[in-house]
Symmetry: none
Subunit: 110 residues, 2 copies
């Protein structure tokens, strides 16, 4: 089957989160058959709305999902991605990161 870059990314992220096709479909107001198509059929051209919800639930940016090349994320996009990731962590981890960043901030920030 034609394996696209987008499809491979979605499947990898979905499996890492242990979501079934149906689970991810529910989270993103999609059908499981469509999620399956995105992962397995070429060439998908999903709507921005779909890919935006999918990116959100998988904890990445739209840019990351769509860009064929590896991207060097700078500026706002990187910040958005970072924050999305942070939000999805559990409270204990969040607290650890915050106190860690507080220390870093003292020394380094200008």
């Amino acid at each position: 089957m034609a394996e696209t870059s987008l499809g491979a990314k979605i499947r990898k992220l979905r499996e890492k989160k242990q979501y079934t096709l149906e689970k991810l479909a529910d989270l993103t107001s999609s059908s499981k058959s469509y999620i399956w198509e995105l992962e397995n059929k070429a060439p998908p051209r999903p709507s921005a709305e779909k890919i935006s919800k999918i990116a959100e639930k998988l904890g990445v940016t739209v840019e990351y999902l769509l860009d064929d090349q590896a991207i060097i994320t700078v500026g706002d996009a990187a910040d958005a991605r970072f924050y999305r990731k942070y939000q999805q962590m559990n409270d204990k981890t969040k607290a650890k990161i915050r106190s860690f960043v507080d220390l870093w901030d003292e020394d380094d920030d200008g």
Copy 2:
């Protein structure tokens, strides 16, 4: 005519860059009639590919164009404080924190 949030953002950014419909269409492999529809007709549901190119040429993220709400909805006051702090740091520090958090995520996510 129905004025959507997405349409308004695209027009504002396009006019700020002094692009005509045709110019933006050329830059994004679209037709000018379609760019016009995005700006003026409701409800647009453009493909991820289109909106990605448009965001790129207008110098914003896909998330900024699509999210109806304020960019980030904060669940928790501590998160909000943390993110404000993070945003004010310099790029090098931000990058360090991000890669640090990426590592943390590997262990912890599930």
